[in-house]
Symmetry: C2
Subunit: 138 residues, 2 copies
Amino acid sequence: MQITRQADYAVRAILYLAEQGDNGRAPTSRIAQEMHIPPSFLAKIVSQLSVAGVVQTSRGARGGVSLAREPKDINLLEVIEAIDGPITLNECVPDRSACIFGDDCPVHDIWCETQNKLVEQLGKADFGALLKKNGRSS
Amino acid sequence: MQITRQADYAVRAILYLAEQGDNGRAPTSRIAQEMHIPPSFLAKIVSQLSVAGVVQTSRGARGGVSLAREPKDINLLEVIEAIDGPITLNECVPDRSACIFGDDCPVHDIWCETQNKLVEQLGKADFGALLKKNGRSS
DNA sequence: GGACCCATGCAGATCACGCGACAAGCCGAT
DNA sequence: ATCGGCTTGTCGCGTGATCTGCATGGGTCC
């Protein structure tokens, strides 16, 4: 009942890029240093985020990572799901056949309902709002 | 981002007892058979539920497991937390010092808020309502 | 050509899961 | 009263998956 540290790192990385302003390009090494993430671990995370279409990467000198969209169009849900995979409270939620009781299972509805609330909550949290919340003009 | 199978088994066991009626006493072997739970695994789960005060157990012949309270006074949250421990979406939620950014962390509030919603949702789901939802008069 | 940066494969550690065995307690029969 | 059987409580072990982290290799720009 906990998100993985990978997902936590991913959120921090996106947050850092969002703070940088429009383009928000930065090498993974700097992100890792600023956000206290193991550098070689961040590389894999960024790769997954790139596949998911959340960030864009460019290799070579002056390369780096940048947001694929504006912060307000990126929410927590897709970042987490890009790393941890789809959120499933219980395995019977996406695959009803996983439960032996089939349609007779009384808890199935509760799992689905709770999961939907959770997903909805995470989906509403976009990074634009996050930045605004505590404006770090520093 | 998933509850453990232990918690799922625990919920099923409670549900089975709640279906039995008022007293709802049953040996773990029967619960295990009916709800498709590994018998030796269920023993450990029942033990934890007993410590948490959700069920009462009596040893010896004609012993078994029974609910400590009425189904409507038992909710999903305490069953899950009795098994998996407190629900923590991220480790920084219960222990703010776990996060390096301290009070400056923009996501901390989101984690807390989302977790509270989740906890509230699970806390509202009591087994009395679950039974009523799809009345299995069979 | 050289420096820089992302991408990928690989090992260690942790944890959930399930099993088994022994101990402790209770009831009923003798 | 004693014995035997039944049921839960507790503990440790092995396996498998998964998270975590590192090192190496491939690609790009100056």
